[in-house]
Amino acid sequence: MFKNMTLRTKLAIGFSLLVLLTTAIGGFAIFQMGKVNDASTEITVNWMPSIRHIQSMNTKTSDFRIAELMHVISEDPAQIAGLEKKMDSIKAALLEDRDAYAKLISSEEERALYEAFANQFDAYMEANARMIPLSRAMRTGEAMAIMNGESQSLFDSYSATLEKLVDLNIAGGKAASENGDVMYARATGWILGAVLIAALLGGIIGVVIVRSLMRQLGADPSEAAAVAQRFAAGDLSEELKTRDDDASSLLAALKTVQGSLRAMIADAGHLTRAVAEGRLRARADAEVHQGDFRAMVQGINDTMESFVVPITEIQRVLGAMAEGDLSQTIRASYQGDFEQLKIALNTTVDKLGETIGQVRSSADALNSAAEQVSATSQTLSQGAAEQAASMEETSSSIEQMSASIAQNTENAQITNGIATQAAREAEEGGTAVRETVQAMREIAIKIKIIDDIAYKTNLLAFNAAIEAARAGEHGKGFAVVAAEVRNLAERSQSAAQEIGDLAGSSVDRAERAGKLLEEMVPSIVKTADLVQEIAAASSEQTTGVTQINSAVNQVNQATQGTASGSEELAATAEEMTSQAQQLQELMAFFRVAGAGAMAEHPVAGKILSSPAPQPRIVGAEKHGPGKDQFIPF
């Protein structure tokens, strides 16, 4: 039953058992520790405080007796009062201790001892009550008698009782401690036993689980995982080790898989090599494989089978083509790409046949075309020669034109120089005229001075005439002189005025001349500009004529080229004719399905379902070493 459980259940049961055992051991240990604790608690709570209270009472009874004795001895009333107060406080403390202890009594024996102490102490206190008044009354002798007699015996007896109580309590504490030791030893034994049992059980469970796991895997899990990873990576090379009796483990199954895969891979490799070496008839034995492996090997066999048939057919048709027989075709029907291949091959054969027929008729056409080309090229050559002659005439005319244009340019440049010089001279003339005008103006100013002098002389002459008149007869001669002077002055004045007028009019004329000269300059400059433009235009004409000349030369060269080209063309045409004939002979090798242009050649091939159409010339053909392409016309 345990064998059939899953790993999870096994692990769950094993660990649950271990957990239960651990919990039980823990609980048991806590229980035993509780008992030990009780024993120690009894010592602390009962026996130890009892001993302390009894000891305290013992001390206080001694203190009380000392205070009594001092009270008896003392004669100072103040001291006596102080001692009485002290005794009261000691007694109160003592009774407090006694009550506390009474609560801790735990056995009958102890109770009896305590009762005895209580009675003795009460009797002592009674004696004390009797003694105090005697002492207070200073009856020391009587007081001492009580103290040494009754009181002393009572004190001794209760002191002994207290000793007994202490012993009793110590004995009780010791008993409790021994009880704790016994319980500790017993608990230790039990717990040790339980731990040993749990360890044993855990070991057994672990061994059982590990053994069952190893039986199922056949190897350590990490090792099995590594094997599976190697398989996943395609590495089947390592031999797997299994136990002799192991047939059901994971590792054993992996080993079987390895064997099957190796066999299949070997077969597949064999077939692949056979295909690569062209042995299409090789096959693998599918029966040695099982299940899907067998299906796969069988599939490879079938694949090869499907290759063989069409390839045999293709071999046959291509072989016929090599013999020049273009009438063979594949007639069986295939599937998919093989069908496509068959159609392509059949189409190729058909097209080739058709094309060869066309090539034949093209060769014929080419023959006659080449003759025409030859004739045309001769005409072309003649025309080119005529063209060359007229080109030379044109060239010489243009050279003459060029010379006359150059002459024009030169003349225009000379004219330009003359016009420029004329402009410069006109400007110089203008300057001269301006200077003349300036000189005239200066003359006019100078003449004004002479005029002024003449006027002043005239005035002087008037004054002289006046003086002469006033002198009467004596001034007559002087009057004549004055009149003469005045006459001269007037003449010089009028002459000066005339000169001034002339100078003024000369200025006007000179200014006009200058203005005319200035107006002339722009005209001359304009003339010079125009002449320059003419010169420039002539230069451009020269350039243009040069260009025309070079163009004519180029045309001339082209014409010569045409002439030689047309001769070459004639030669080529002859070459072409012979090549076309050669082509016709070559094409005779092929046998084509259908009658076509086969009249002069025997047809060896079979006639196909559709006869090939009469070849038509549909395009250009290359032939022989020729590098020119001709469009048939």
Partner: protein, 170 residues
């Protein structure tokens, strides 16, 4: 020189100074003229009639200058290059005084026979008739011979000056 003297001289010639004023020739007897100077340095005197141009310093003597054009009631003379001041002697009951006349230019000294001087017209002249002593026909035009004593009457000038002091000149 007086009108009587001139009349007495009869056929005798007398010398006249001919000068220009606003384009017209005028004549005054040469004997009344002291000298001719160029126009210049006339000191203007305020509050005087417009025909008194001012005074000049003639060799230390103060000589008043009359603008004849203004005296004739025309716009004052514009000073030009040929403007002159003719210094004349005036004789009245107070004695002999010098006075300057502003003229546009001096033309000539001419001998004019008294017979050629014709009496002034009754009307048609541009100036007051009583200023004109007579008219002398030169080669092509008439020369007005001025009555110097009337034109330059000191008495009348003083009256006009006093009127100026009392009120506006015109």
């Amino acid at each position: 020189m007086t009108r009587d003297t001139t009349l007495e001289s009869g056929q005798e010639k007398a010398q006249y100074l001919i000068f220009n004023l606003r384009g017209e020739p005028f004549a005054i007897p040469l004997l009344g003229v002291k000298e001719i100077i160029e126009y210049g340095s006339v000191t203007h005197i305020p509050n005087m009639p417009v025909f008194i141009r001012g005074v000049i310093n003639l060799r230390g003597r103060v000589v008043p200058v009359i603008d004849l054009a203004a005296r004739f009631g025309e716009p004052p003379t514009t000073v030009g290059e040929r403007t002159c001041v003719v210094i004349v002697e005036l004789q009245d009951e107070a004695g002999i005084n010098d006075m300057g006349i502003v003229v546009d230019g001096v033309n000539a000294v001419s001998d004019i026979p008294a017979s050629e001087i014709e009496p002034p017209p009754r009307f048609g002249a541009k100036i007051r008739v009583d200023f004109i002593q007579g008219m002398w026909k030169s080669q092509d035009r008439f020369v007005i011979v001025l009555d110097q004593a009337r034109v330059l009457s000191i008495q009348e000038i003083n009256q006009l000056a006093e009127m100026m002091e009392d009120g506006p000149a015109r």
